[in-house]
Each structure stands twice: as C-alpha cells, then as structure tokens.
Amino acid sequence: MFALTTLVAVSFSIGSFRIEESQRPFLYAVLLWIILVFSALSGLSRSFVKEQESGTMDILKLSARPQAVFLGKLFFNLSMLGVLELIIVPAFILLMGYKIKFPGCFVAMMVTGGLGLGAGTTLVAAMIAQANARGALFSALSFPLLLPLIITAIKGSERAAYGISAAGWPEVKIAAAYAIIMVTVSLLLFPLIWEE
C-alpha cells in the first residue's frame, strides 16, 4: 500500500510532462528506487519482529538451524520484493511514461538491485528484532548498508534508460556482487545475531 500510495502521489504531482525529456532517465530512476527502497524498509523490517512479538522466536531457536531460518526469511522477503517490483515497476513506467532504451539491462538491474535490497534488509531486520527502538534503528542501520546499492541501482537504471554505451551492465555486476557478498556475510554473521 505504501508503494502504491507513493507511486500515485509521485505520478500525480510530477507526471510525465513536468520534467525535461533529457532529465527524465535520471530523475525517474531516482524516484523509482526511492519508492522501492522505502517500501522495502517499511515492509521487510517486520520479518523477524513478527517472530519476536508472537513469542515464536525461542521455539524457532530451539528447533531450526540459524542458517535455515535466515534463508527462509530471505526467500520470503525476496518473494515479497519480487511481487512489489512486478506491480510497481510496470505501473511506474506506464504512469510516468518512462522510456527505456535497454529493457534487458533495466530488468537485470531491477533483479540484482532487488536481490541486494532483500539481502541487506533481511540482515538488518534480524539485528533489530530484539531491540527496543526497532523502527528508528532499522532506518539508521539500513541507510549506510544500502547506500552503495541504491547509488549503483540508480546509476544502472539511468544508463539502461539512456541507452548509453556499455549501458548499465557494470552496475548490474556490482549489484549482483553486493547481493552475493551480503548473503555470504549474513550466513556467517546470522548465527551470532540469532543466539543471545
């Protein structure tokens, strides 16, 4: 709902005519990733908090391997993010008249960016689950962790839309590397976070 509301607000207030055509690929990429990142931050932070609030955290600690719990939560968050992107990205393109010269590269950027976003937010969600000021802490920890990915994803989406040489593939590779590093680090660190 947050994503849809933001998308509608952006499309009504900016639309496809208020920005100069030469500026559109960059500004649209920024707006699209702002919508995706803040939607992810508002929704995915709850993946571990729900276990804590419903009292199932301890029983899960007693039953399952930490890595299995992390991967389960990661796949859930990635599925949610995948559905979100499937709804928001086409709607954004339609409403804003976003023209993309290299659609394949743009899709790859969305996929790898989504993977990185899902992996980063899942790790932070695990870290803040047992804290008191979860909301503030989630944003504070996510911001520095996700900033390199967000900058890369915006740049990659912009280059895919412009259709400039080499397109956004370097950014796609960086985002894919970010996702792989984040998942690997998470699998190593999560058992320490999971135990008291």
Binding site: G55, L62, S63
Partner: protein, 205 residues
C-alpha cells in the same frame, strides 16, 4: 545412555544475581525438579540448559553414549516446554507438527504425529487452527512439539500450567516414559510436579 552436567552455573543481570555456583549431574532415567522463589531463576536455568541463554559463569555439558554433544547440535537432543514458548497460531495443530518436524529434520509421518497427539488427547483437534485453542490445549500442543523428535533431554517449565486433570495425567505419563529413554528437568514449585522428581535443586538456597 545420556548425561547432563551442570557445572558451577551462575547468572546475573547487571547487578542482580539470580543464582551462582549451581552444579548437578544427571544420567538417563533421572528426573530433577528445580524449585525456588519467584524470580529465583528457575526458567532461566532451563533456558541456559537449552542453550537459549548464556550463563554468566560455568558451563553445561551434554553427553550421549559418552560422546559430548556440541552446543550447535543441542537442539536435536533437547525438547522444551515453557510458558514463554509459543506456537504458530495461524497453523493447525497438525501443520504446527509438520512444520517442527521439517525444521528439525525429522521425517514427517502423519500417523506417528497422530500417535503423539493421542498421548495428550488432542486428536480431535488436530485439524483446528491453533489460534482457536484454549490455553490448556496450547500447553498440550507444546508438549507434543517438545516430543516430536524423541529428545533424550526433556526440559519442562511448569508443565502442568493451565492443564486439566487429564492433561496433568498426560504430563505424568510423559515424564514416566522419559525415564526409560532420557533425562527430565522440571522447573516448578507445584508440589504435584516436584513429586515426579527423584531429586530437587532449590535455587532459593
């Protein structure tokens, strides 16, 4: 043959000392009751044995067939029931069992799950959503969850909590059965539950 060694365990939260230098050794067939005033650390002691909480001092060692059980592998050997442990309200009793079988790496067998449910008189409610269960029925399902992987170390924190006379009888039978295959640690001040035990560790002393 399993052994549980609790060696000089102590626990404090900032300046509050819960207990210190608690030691005991249990072997297969033993049932011990941990008693003490409210806030003396009975539940915390069970959580330390289960590996959910780190002790401030001392250590817990578990052995099966004279082989030490690494801390990471303890979850396969420990079954625990406690008021603070909750099951998934959105799943049915049977779905909860299937979930815990799968995450524990135990092969899910509907028939054996029904056998365990029968032990706590929950067969009629197997397909009902847990959220609709009474507190007594939830307690019975927690017992089922703790027994699903046939653990040699059974930790029961106030096992008779919210149970009627039939439920209490089920707990008695479960503890009696556990004597043949493992160790039971009960945390309670209820005389009836303390009477199940062969020895008592009083944390108020």
């Amino acid at each position: 043959m399993c052994t549980l060694k609790v060696i000089s365990i102590g626990k404090h939260f900032s300046s509050t000392i819960l207990f210190k230098d608690v030691s005991f050794v249990l072997n297969s067939g033993d049932v011990v009751a941990i008693t003490g005033w409210n806030g003396s650390g009975k539940s915390t002691m069970l959580r330390i044995i289960a590996g959910l909480v780190r002790p401030s001092a001392g250590q817990v060692e578990m052995f099966c067939d004279n082989k030490p059980i690494p801390k990471k592998a303890r979850r396969q050997y420990v079954g625990m029931v406690a008021p603070a442990l909750a099951l998934y309200d959105e799943l049915t009793a049977l779905e909860n069992m299937e979930f815990f079988c799968r995450v524990r790496g135990v092969a899910y067998d509907r028939k054996s799950c029904f056998n365990i449910l029968e032990r706590v008189d929950l067969v009629k409610h197997a397909e009902k959503i847990c959220g609709t269960f009474s507190s007594g029925m939830k307690q019975r399902l927690k017992l089922v969850q703790a027994l699903i992987h046939k653990p040699p170390f059974l930790l029961l924190d106030e096992p008779g909590c919210n149970l009627d006379s039939r439920g209490i009888k089920s707990v008695k039978n479960i503890i009696s059965d556990q004597r043949t295959c493992g160790i039971t640690v009960i945390a309670s001040n209820e005389k009836r539950e303390v009477d199940y035990a062969d020895s008592i560790v009083n944390l108020s002393n």
